[in-house]
């Protein structure tokens, strides 16, 4: 295994981008990353694209070839691969690109992630998101994606005394972070009361407990470490990549208040990186719902099980705390264009580790962790990045 560096990043604004198509977004992010890496194009050995459901959102499959083609790479006949793991599609695409470079198969790989969600209506969009759950044994019986997370939330409240207020504080904090991110979908702070009084979606979760429907794309360029300096002065090293899976249906787990896939992927990643949760200063975690961030900060080992809500309410995950969680605004405020999310998390960490995060910069960030989840924890990807001094 070779060391791998990120030498370029690119991302679009996230939001309801009515005037931009799926391919517009993918190419915009890809070109930005390639430009950031000072590549001319012909150096690229392979392309990986994370995308959950273009087939349903825009009735287009064969996304790898599409993005390669419109990025101008089709003439070079490079391998182009689409990767899908529901909400973890981006994180998993990143991992595939990382493995390809680390193995020595390729030297320079572009990994993108994109989703165009607003070409369908809200109801259909919600139904498509639910395809990440078990269609035959959950969705068919009326379990929506928010409802499955509401089941987790209700049980977490029951077992650990987590409160609606504590969950609401996840949204408040992430909106605050989002207000510092010019590319976030929501750049406005919100008050706890607004979260608590937002219309119920799936009780106990309200609308402000849910990440929005978003369009967007993000991309990174990966390069073997020994060639990285050729292209950039600020390579960021991929310290580790951990992946784990679990039952597709939430109900089939021993416990619904933890994601074992998260803790196992984290354990694998921490082992590879030679560190643990205490060695991380900044983390982008999968907060598609407020309860998801509480689960994540527990399962990743930042806080003991059951104390994620309390820690959040106490500000222990905010910018300025020992571990800054979701400085980009997270899925909640930055937005959640599903396939793009896992890559956008990595992009945010690169900003942080390069010291380019502006008003939301975590001072002295040495290591960052990205946590990307598919479905209700059936896939989890944990990526750890480190500053190269």
């Amino acid at each position: 295994m070779r060391d791998v560096a990120i030498i370029g990043i690119g991302d679009t604004k996230f939001g309801e981008l009515w005037d931009q198509s799926f391919r517009d977004l993918g190419i915009q992010a890809g070109l930005a990353a390639v430009g950031d890496a000072n590549l001319s194009g012909e150096e690229i050995d392979a392309l990986y694209v994370g995308n959950m459901s273009a087939g349903k959102f825009i009735e287009q499959e064969h996304i790898g070839a599409l993005i390669a083609d419109y990025s101008g790479l089709a003439r070079d006949n490079i391998p182009a691969t689409r990767v899908e793991a529901a909400g973890a599609s981006g994180g998993l695409a990143f991992r595939q690109g990382y493995l390809a470079v680390a193995s020595g198969m390729h030297d320079i790989v572009v990994v993108g992630g994109a989703e165009k969600m607003t070409d369908v209506g809200d109801v259909l969009s919600t139904e498509i998101q639910a395809t990440a759950a078990d269609q035959q044994w959950e969705t068919a019986f009326g379990a929506t994606f928010p409802a499955l997370h509401a089941l987790i939330a209700r049980r977490h409240m029951h077992e650990f005394g987590t409160t609606r207020e504590q969950m609401g504080m996840v949204a408040v904090k992430n909106h605050k972070h989002g207000s510092l991110n010019p590319k976030a979908q929501y750049q406005k702070e919100i008050k706890l009361d607004a979260v608590l009084k937002s219309p119920p979606v799936a009780e106990p979760l309200g609308m402000f407990d849910c990440a929005p429907i978003s369009d967007g794309a993000a991309a990174v360029v990966l390069c073997c470490m020994d060639k990285a300096r050729k292209y950039t002065d600020t390579p960021v090293k991929v310290l580790a990549s951990g992946q784990a899976s679990d039952t597709l249906a939430l109900a089939h787990r021993e416990s619904i208040t933890r994601f074992d896939a998260t803790s196992v992927a984290a354990r694998r990643a921490f082992k590879q990186a030679g560190t643990d949760a205490s060695g991380i200063q900044v983390a982008e975690v999968h907060d598609n719902f407020t309860i998801s961030e509480i689960l994540a900060v527990e399962d990743l080992g930042f806080f003991p099980k059951g104390e994620g809500g309390k820690a959040t309410a106490e500000g222990q995950t905010a910018l300025g705390a020992k571990i800054a969680v979701n400085t980009s605004g997270g899925l909640k405020a930055r937005g959640d264009p599903i396939g793009a999310t896992g890559i956008a998390q990595v992009v945010e960490l690169v900003y942080q580790l390069r010291g380019q995060a502006g008003k939301r910069q975590v001072a002295g960030a040495e290591r960052g962790l990205a946590h990307n989840v598919g479905g209700t924890g059936a896939t989890a990807i944990v990526t750890i990045l480190g500053r190269v001094n």
Binding site: V123, T126, E127, A130, Q136, W137, E138, T139, A140, F141, G142, A143, T144, P146, A147, A150, L151, I152, A153, R154, R155, H158, P199, P200, V201, A202, E203, P204, L205, A249, L250, A251, H252, I256
Partner: protein
């Protein structure tokens, strides 16, 4: 067309038929062809078994934003039920007020329409849960 996709599972949807591993005795619902614990040793030994249909609410949510299939029923209750046999499944709780549902509440399975493919398509029937009589 989801005709065959649903029809294939009618037995489990109507009558809560799961599988029991002939090697270790663990129970699964929906049916599995391989036991996640015994792996290869379970092959060919996964036997059908019938859940009695009684259990208790492990967690629940009152769904307000519903897929089009469930538009007429919202707000409705979706829950994870811990069946008396020790396995869990996801289903709606009906025939009671959402506000009356609690964690630990005893429920029993019944059968209802779970969906249909428009006014001219096939109707899907399957289990839902109601408060235990």
């Amino acid at each position: 067309m989801t005709v065959a996709r649903f029809w294939r599972e009618n037995e489990s949807r109507y009558n809560l038929i799961g599988t029991k591993c002939g090697n270790c005795g663990r129970l699964y619902f929906p049916p599995r062809s391989v036991c996640p614990v015994c792996h290869r040793k379970s092959l060919g030994k996964m036997e059908h078994f019938h859940l009695e249909g009684k259990g208790e609410v492990l967690s629940f949510s009152i769904v307000h934003d519903a897929p089009s299939q469930f538009e007429l029923q919202k707000p409705y209750v979706i829950a994870i039920i811990m069946m008396d046999e020790g396995i869990r499944l996801t289903g709606q709780i009906i025939d009671c007020e959402p506000a009356d549902v609690t964690i630990g509440m005893r429920v029993q399975a019944t059968i209802r329409k779970v969906g249909e493919e428009g006014p001219s398509g096939i109707i899907h029937y399957g289990y839902k849960f109601m408060p235990l009589r």
